[in-house]
């Protein structure tokens, strides 16, 4: 069985004194030291990064990592926009399935705050189709088009969306690595300026720097005396780059397919899941995720969101985004997918400190690239 034996994260936020290389080095040496693993025990590295080529004008990140870590092993870089981290994890899992007795490092890192808001908006819009970009549609703009359809079709208002951000900020204050650690109210969200109507600043995940790392292994020797979570499934699915080419605007087909395949493979039911990290790049995205993963009926998500049904103190059996989600923990895009898996790992191995969900034995992570062009759904168990 492929297992996770450790997780490490840098602080998320505006890290002005750190470059992309600094983040890579901090997170890689951090996890290796903590687990007392030497680089010569690693067989490969998988790295998720979206914007190195656009923001830093730097590609061939594998050679960067070779230099930084003084290794000569294979290094695979994945790019799937905001699902770059999830795809790095998924690829590492696939690699281990066909290679016995191997141990790999999975990294995600993103440096986003060295450029202006307008420039990063343009950089992120590269994950939208050419036609979307050519009419001035931004990444939030594409999600706004989906949100408009959802709100109108099911009779919800901006207040229903706002509750997602309020809940995730309430979780974020419990996470010492989070970008934002303060409570916000429904009114705070509603009074924040629009980015792309009906989505406002406080419906949106922030621009963050940060890096995360996991060690995965299928070598029984490496698992001894460690906190282990087993990977029961990691499935990915794709969809059209343009939302105009999709059958429906109120759902994500890629999430539905990856989710349903993951549950089949893990042989679990929805009610078996105790904790979950889902992709909340915008408030609407978390609602669509819970519906498309099969936890809420289509169209019921707005009402569930408003009741804060997945809040850690709700008393319910499914808690979502204990890390604070992308919204409060921050969204360094390439590292987000790794952070989600890492948070579920911490929960399942009872290392989540103040935000620990009691008796959590199965967890799910859901990572989306672009406006749903890629989805990765992974299920872990202990």
């Amino acid at each position: 069985m492929n297992s996770i034996i450790g997780y490490y994260s840098t602080q998320f936020g505006e890290l002005w004194d750190k470059s992309l290389d600094d983040l890579f080095l901090e997170v890689a040496s951090g996890i290796l030291e903590e687990l007392r693993i030497e680089t010569k025990q690693l067989d490969a590295i998988f790295v998720g990064n979206m914007l190195g080529g656009v923001v830093e004008r730097q590609l061939l990140l594998s050679a960067h990592l070779s230099e930084l870590l003084d290794v000569h092993i294979p290094i695979y870089r994945t790019e799937a926009a905001c699902a770059s981290g999830g795809m790095a994890f998924h690829s590492a899992h696939e690699y281990l399935k066909s290679n016995p007795k191997k141990t790999v490092l999975v990294l995600g890192a993103e440096k986003m705050t060295d450029i202006t808001a307008s420039e990063i908006t343009q950089a992120l819009a590269t994950a939208a189709s050419h036609k979307e970009q050519s009419v001035g549609l931004t990444f939030p703009g594409v999600y706004a088009l989906m949100a408009q359809v959802y709100l109108k079709k099911y009779g919800y208002s901006e207040e229903h969306l706002a509750a997602i951000s309020v809940k995730n900020h309430a979780h974020g204050i419990l996470n010492e690595k989070a970008h934002f650690r303060r409570l916000i109210s429904i009114d705070d969200v509603l009074e924040s300026p629009y980015v792309a109507y009906p989505l406002k600043v406080l419906d949106s995940s922030p621009i963050s720097d940060g890096a995360t790392a996991l060690i995965l292994t299928n070598d029984p020797q490496m698992m001894k005396n460690r906190n282990i979570a087993t990977i029961l499934a990691s499935e990915s699915a794709t969809d059209t780059i343009s939302i105009a080419r999709r059958r429906r605007l109120d759902e994500m087909e890629s999430t539905k397919v990856a989710g349903s395949n993951a549950f089949k493979l893990a042989k679990l039911r929805r009610e078996d899941i105790d904790v979950m990290e889902v992709h909340d790049c915008f408030s609407i995205t978390e609602i669509l995720a819970l519906e498309d993963l099969g936890f809420w009926k289509k169209g019921h998500g707005g009402a569930q969101a408003k009741e804060m049904a997945t809040y850690i103190e709700s008393g319910n059996n499914l808690i979502v985004n204990t890390s604070g989600g992308l919204k409060a923990a921050g969204h360094p895009v390439g590292s987000t997918g790794i952070k989600q898996i890492g948070e579920v790992y911490l929960q399942l191995t009872q290392q989540a400190k103040k935000r620990q969900v009691k008796n959590a034995s199965y967890g799910l992570a859901h990572n989306v690239g672009g406006s749903g062009g890629v989805a990765v759904v992974s299920i872990l168990g202990v």
């Binding site: 908006t121 979307e132 050519s134 009419v135 001035g136 931004t138 939302i243």
Partner: protein, 101 residues
């Protein structure tokens, strides 16, 4: 990054096929934070429209009253200038929408 004149030329070959078409707004948004090419134009509205032949296309909505910017409202395509370009760059024209009145 400047816009290649070849790309503009290539795009306009298909843009002309979209002129004079009528369709219905499937969704709309108003953009407040935009890439540099459109920054001076914020806020501007973008619509996703289903044309009468079933094709779905995006475009900016211009010359409208707020009452016309709703899901289900009819619009028609027109040719307008697209975004800002530098003094040495090719002016780009593109398909936008106006309300069908």
């Amino acid at each position: 990054m400047s816009q290649s004149p070849i790309k503009v030329w290539r795009k306009q070959k298909t843009d002309r096929l979209l002129l004079g078409k009528v369709g219905e707004i499937l969704s709309w948004t108003e953009i407040n934070v935009a890439p540099p090419q459109y920054s001076a134009k914020t806020p501007y509205s973008v619509v996703l429209v289903e044309l009468e032949n079933g094709e779905k296309i995006y475009g900016q909505l211009v010359d409208f009253q707020k009452v016309d910017r709703e899901i289900g409202k009819k619009v028609r395509t027109i040719l307008r200038r697209n975004g800002d370009v530098g003094p040495e760059e090719v002016l780009e024209y593109t398909v936008k929408f106006v309300p069908l009145i």
